[in-house]
Every structure is written in C-alpha cells, then in structure tokens.
C-alpha cells in the first residue's frame, strides 16, 4: 500500500513531466530548418512602412525565386529594434538563418565575428561579380583590405527635403546648396511665434547623431579613426562638425525645439508634413513616410544635402554616408542556396522592383540606369550615393563609435533643449569621453 501511494506520486511527477514536454512540443510551431538543401531561411530587415507590408512585398518575389531554382525560402522580417540581437545570438550559437540583411554600417563589426561567408572573387562571381555593384555601395561591405562578408542590397543616401510652398512664401527661389545658404533659408523660414521652423531633426536618435558627426566631420577634414583603426574622436575638425550640427538647435535656433526629443525619422517627418518644419535632412526612403503623412509628391522637393562652402582645409565634398542595407550568408549553412538567393535579390529585375517598392536606391549599375530611377528626386539621391558619399568608418568597433559619439550628440541636443547652451569645451570633453569608452573594449 505504501509503495502504491509512493508509485502514484511518482506517476504524478512523471505525468507532469510528460505533459510539460508534450505542451512544449505542441507549442513548437516552427519546424527545424537546415540540413535540407532545398530550403533556406532568410531574415529580412524592415524596409517598408510595417513588417507586414514587407512580407507582402517580398513573398511573391521569393515565390518567383522558388519557381526558378526549386529552393524554398522561409522568410522572417525582423524589426530594427531586434535585428542586431538576433544576429548576435545566431552568431554565438551557430543557430541562425542562411541569409540575413544587415545595416551596412555594421559590415566591418560583423565581418570581425567571422560568422559570414567571405565574398572573395570566386564567391562574388556566383552572385554576378563584384563589378555589377555601385563602387560606393561596395565600399561599405567590410574593412579595407579584408575580404568583404556582405554585398549591398538596398541603397540609401541623405538629401535635403524642402516644402515648396513654404519656400515660395518666404521668397526662396532655389534650394540652398551651401551650408550658409541653407542657414539663411532656415532662418527666413523660422517663425517661432507662428510655430514654424526651418528644419526638423531626429535629435534623440543616436544613429542619426553619429551620421551627421561623420558627414560634417568629413567636410571639416576630420576623421574618427586613423589609418590603423585607432579612434581619434576629439580632433578640432570633429568638434567643429558637431558644433555645426547642434547649432541648428542651439545658436542658430532654426530647428523645431522638440527635435531634441525625436527618436525616429518618423517624428521629423511628422513635423515636415504638418508644415511645422520647412526642411529636413533625411534618407531616400523617407519619401514613403512623407506620402504616408499625407503630403503630395508635388508639394516638396529634394536637393543634395548642403555642403560647407568654401570647404575647410582638408575637407571633402561629402554630403552623405554610404547608407543602405547589405545582405550576407551565414557560414556552415546552405551556402549554395544562400548565394543563389543573394544573386536573385541583387539581379537587375529584383533590384528595380524591390527598391521601387521600398523607396530605396538600386545598388547595381544596371538597375541604377533603369528608367524607374531617373525621376528628378531619385536621381539626386542616386547621384549623391554614387559620387559624394563616403562609407562610415569600416572598423570592427564601428557600432561602439555610433553608440558613443551618437549618444554624445544626442545628449548635447537634449542639453540645449533644456535651455543650457553647449560650449566648445563641452563638445571636446564629450568626444574625449566617448573615445575613452571605446578604449576599454578592445
């Protein structure tokens, strides 16, 4: 009798364990992938207005790929907030997709992990050869002198968006080309009493802060890393670049004050479409957001981002970083299938179709020549991407650069918004601090 109750108890725990496992298995909704040469997994980044919309855009294309090659693609679109974490865990555990999209500024950092297939000449040949890509886009695929581990898929660049009616009302006939003209125009368009301003920024976005520090730094002849990859943040040139950027909100007072709180481009777009801000400097695919905000295509114009004129000594004519998305293949997976998919997605037809849908720029020469991208606005972005853009520092700790310098810029804008001006010495100190944070992470 004792043994029976004892047995009953054991049965109870055993049942519990069984139920647990069964529930786990029942809940297991996605079957394991890998091993099957005719199936690959693709992690796409969020390019359209919603993750859902991205799925709708990509699914028919991937079906076409399956018809062509017989390879089935499991698609997962991952929002930007989670993409890097997912790549990190996939890299560490080896349990990842076959193909993945990455922000192209992460290229060198992720290259250093050794998780991705090297795109040497032989591999490049399998996706159509390195020559098919725009040279600038290709420059943002990994550290100089090391075999790249990703290729471009979507291109982006910064441009100046301006409200045509506001320009007309202020008597501005042509979009500003130089930074001083731009400031003059912004001042004319700013009327705090009426609640209108020259420009709106995504001031609380650290990536945005890092981009402008970099772009304007180039114009000032500055560099955030020396040739051997060591950080050189607190140079006078970089200080001048950041001062120039934060002055929009600070000394010049031409930016929407709440810019300092805008964590996303979408917030700046809302200012732009509502007429609160007459200009914004944003990336190519912002056109989709503007349309979503209810502004007609004809009501705004696009011009290249203004450049300092004359350029400070040693400055370069750079008004965008080589922005965009790259695509990579994880090692030890179905590399053949992965490369086929990459070739397919970077083929002229898909480049035209996808970049049109997502409002981004083609990254291959063929597609760039397509009539679909010869519109006045697109042309300006393409031109910039192809000629006056420079890749973000292609060093393994690029992501640290973005977080530390970008956060410093963000904090300075917040300080200005709080009513406390930022001095040159403070900019200098913030950059020196940012560099120290990088120091210990080698």
């Amino acid at each position: 009798m004792r043994f029976r109750t004892f047995g009953k108890f054991r049965k109870f725990t055993a049942t519990l364990a069984a139920v647990l496992v069964a529930a786990g298995l029942a809940a297991c909704s996605s079957g394991p992938s890998g091993g099957d040469p005719m199936t690959i997994t693709y992690w796409a980044s969020n390019q359209g207005p919603t993750v859902q919309r991205d799925k709708e855009i990509l699914t028919p294309e991937l079906e076409a790929f399956t018809r062509q090659t017989g390879i089935k693609v499991n698609l997962e679109v991952i929002d930007w907030q989670h993409l890097l974490d997912r790549i990190t865990t996939a890299t560490t555990s080896g349990d990842g997709p076959d193909v993945v999209n990455i922000g192209n500024t992460w290229s060198a950092s992720l290259q250093a992990t050794g998780a991705f297939v090297d795109f040497d000449d032989a591999t490049l040949a399998k996706v159509g050869g390195g020559d098919k890509f725009l040279a600038t886009s290709m420059s943002s695929t990994g550290a100089a002198g090391i075999t790249p581990t990703s290729v471009p898929i979507y291109g982006l660049s910064y441009g100046l968006f301006y409200n045509k009616k506001a320009f007309e009302a202020a008597g501005i006939t042509s979009p500003p080309a130089s930074w001083s003209d731009f400031l003059a125009a912004a001042k004319k368009l700013t009327d705090p009493a009426a609640g209108t301003y020259g420009i709106s920024l995504a001031g609380a976005s650290y990536t945005e802060g890092a981009h402008f520090a970099f772009i304007l730094g180039k114009q000032h002849g500055g560099s955030f890393f020396d040739a051997s990859g060591r950080p050189t943040f607190a140079t006078p040139q970089n200080v001048a670049a950041i001062e120039q950027y934060i002055a929009l909100l600070g000394t010049e007072k031409v930016a929407v004050p709440s810019s300092a709180e805008h964590a996303r481009t979408a917030d700046a777009v809302a200012d732009f479409t509502s007429g609160k801000a007459a200009m914004m400097i944003a990336q190519t695919n912002t056109t989709a957001a503007i349309a979503a905000g209810g502004m007609a295509e004809g009501d705004y114009g696009v011009a290249p981002m203004p450049i300092n004129d004359p350029l400070p000594a040693g400055g370069e004519r750079v008004n965008s970083h080589v922005a965009g998305i790259n695509i990579a293949a994880f090692k030890d997976k179905n590399t053949d299938g992965a490369l086929k998919l990459i070739e397919f997605l970077t083929s002229p037809a898909e480049q035209v179709k996808l970049n049109q849908e997502f409002g981004s720029l083609p990254v291959t020469k063929d597609a760039a020549a397509d009539p679909a991208f010869q519109g006045a606005k697109t042309k300006i972005f393409l031109e910039e991407l192809a000629t006056t853009s420079a890749p973000m520092p292609m060093v393994p700790n690029e992501s640290q650069f973005e977080t530390t310098v970008g956060s410093a810029v963000k904090e300075m804008l917040a300080q200005i918004a709080g009513g406390k001006p930022v001095t040159q010495a403070e900019v200098q100190a913030a950059l020196a601090g940012a560099q120290q944070k990088l120091g210990g992470t080698g």
Binding site: R2, T13, G114, S258, A414, Q436, G440
Partner: protein, 322 residues
C-alpha cells in the same frame, strides 16, 4: 498572531514512532522528489546559465570570439579591472549607473510605499465607493508593462503630450518642458515606476491592515489615542513583517528593472535614466563586449546578494528583539 516569515520551525510533523517500517526510505526521498522538478528547472534556466555568465566574465569575449566563444582567451580579472577603473569613462559610467539605479529604487520604493500606506489607511475606513476605488487603483499594476510605459511615453511627449498640455493650461508650467530628456528623464521614469508599483504596495498593505484585529484599535481608542497615535503606535509596528517583505520585493523588482527604461527610451536612454540593467545590455548586446558586460552583471549580483542578506539579517534580528 504576527510572526515574521520563516520563524516557524519546520520540524517533521509526524513522529517516527508508531509508523510502519516502509515509511522511512520514502520519507527521506519524498522531499527530494517534491523539490526535484523545481530544482531541475532552476538548474537549467537559472543556475547553469548564471555560472556560464560568471565564467564569461573572465573571458575576453568580444565580437572577434562571438562565434567561437568557448575559445575566447582567458582574461583573468581584466574585465573587472576595466569595470572598476574609476579613472576611465567606463568605470565612471558604471558607477554613475549604479547610483542612478539606487536612486531610482529608493524613490520608487519609498513613494510607492507612502502612497500605498496612505491609500490603504484611507480605504480602511468605511468610505463610499471603496471597492470601486480599490479596483481602479489596482489596474495600473495589472496592465502589461509595455502598455503602461507606452501610454506614459505618449503623455510625456513634448509637443502632443497631455502633461505639458495640462501644465500650460493650468499655468503650473510653461508647457515647454522636455520630460523625456536630460535630468527630467529620471523623473519621468520614476513616475512611471511609481504608477505601476504603488498598487502592489496598496494591495499588500491593505491585506496587512485587514489582518490586524479591530479589538486592538478599540482598546487604543478607549485609551484616548488619536488617529495619528494609533497609526504610529499600533498600525506601523503591526505591519512591520509585511513591510519587510514588501520593501524587499519592491527593491528587487526596481533594481533589476529593464522593461521600463527599455520601452520608454527604446535604446536611446538618456544619461540620467541609465539603469544598470540597460547599461549592461548596452555593453553586452550593442557593443558585443560580453566579457565586460558579464563582469558588470556579476558585480551587480554580488552587490544585490550582500544588500539583501544584510537586510534580511538586520530585519529578522530586529523582529526577534521586538
């Protein structure tokens, strides 16, 4: 009736005499069988990963070794040295972050407790609509964290938020305050923490109050004690065991809070709201320095263990002496 947790001795309920022999082995094994499943999952999910985390803190695990993390070079105490180096920004930042976290915990726990005891005392009297009020008060605690945080984010927005709108409308402020930037970010985060957690304090303290027999109050009233005297002389001492548990739980929840700052600032946390959990997340997942991140976490864990043990030791001694 009121004794602190765990002071009741848990001697075996049944004397061994008079039992049949078959009992003794199962009696010895049974408790292990009972804790077995819990132990198994604790080992799998908590203990082994934690020990792995501790060992990672001795490795130079950065992006170069992510893929072969088992081969990451042994770093000894280097990560700890970096984390503790107060000459560099990394060490200073961590120290600042710990300070901010302690301040956040202190503010949220104390204000939540104050609101809770205030509300519980007021609701104890027979006020009309009492259960309706209680129901409303409890909703913020029941809301999923992400919805609670996101509505506050919406309300604290500079341009379109309710808070600035009300401040400007009532003339209490200029309506031009950036609640989510600079030092204000800390205030906002603490406000949200309080909004979410004070109902828990309320609930616990109401239960505590209910367990105090009314006769004690009646006796005190006969002695001529006024409301405040009753509160300080009777209610508070009687609530001590509840308070000890409540404060500890709230402290642990707030000190390790990740969801509030992470949802509120979405990866763009202002310096003033840089809680340790977010700080470690930044150094682990954003900059891929898992060795350093783990060293920071371990330091944090040791700190928490020490603080908690001290707290338990002190409070239980006080309870014994009382």
């Amino acid at each position: 009736m009121v004794t602190p947790v765990g002071t009741r001795p848990a001697v075996p309920a049944v004397p061994r005499t008079g039992r049949r022999r078959g009992w003794s082995p199962s009696r010895r094994v049974l408790p292990y069988l009972l804790i077995g499943p819990a132990l198994l999952f604790e080992l799998l999910v908590h203990v082994i990963p934690m020990l792995t985390g501790v060992s990672i803190s001795f490795l130079q695990l950065n992006q170069f070794y992510l893929r072969r993390w088992l081969q990451a070079p042994f770093a000894g105490l280097a990560n700890y040295r970096i984390a503790f180096d107060l000459q560099s920004e990394i060490g200073l930042d961590l120290l600042r972050s710990v300070g901010i976290t302690l301040a956040y915990s202190a503010v949220v726990v104390s204000v939540s407790w104050l609101f809770g005891i205030f509300g519980a005392t007021l609701l104890q009297s027979s006020v009309r609509g009492r259960s309706l009020l209680r129901t409303f008060f409890l909703i913020p605690y029941a809301l999923p964290v992400f919805t609670a945080v996101i509505v506050w984010k919406f309300m604290l927005d500079h341009d379109s938020g309710l808070v600035n709108h009300v401040l400007a409308g009532t003339g209490l402020g200029d309506g031009n305050t950036f609640w989510l930037l600079g030092d204000n970010a800390f205030i906002s985060m603490a406000l949200i923490g309080i909004w979410r957690l004070w109902p828990f304090a309320l609930l616990t303290l109401m239960a505590g109050l209910q367990s105090i027999p009314t006769e004690v109050y009646e006796a005190a009233e006969v002695d001529g004690a006024n409301r405040w005297q009753q509160f300080t002389g009777l209610t508070l001492p009687m609530l001590r065991p509840v308070n000890q548990v409540l404060v500890l739980v709230l402290f642990l929840w707030t000190f390790n809070d990740f969801n509030v700052p992470f949802t509120l600032f979405a990866g763009s946390t202002p310096a003033s709201a840089d809680l340790v959990s977010v700080h470690v997340y930044q150094s682990s997942f954003i900059t891929w320095n898992f060795g350093l991140g783990s060293a920071m976490s371990v330091t944090l864990l040791v700190f928490l263990l020490v603080v908690t043990s001290l707290y338990i030791a002190v409070t239980s001694r006080r309870a014994r002496n009382a």
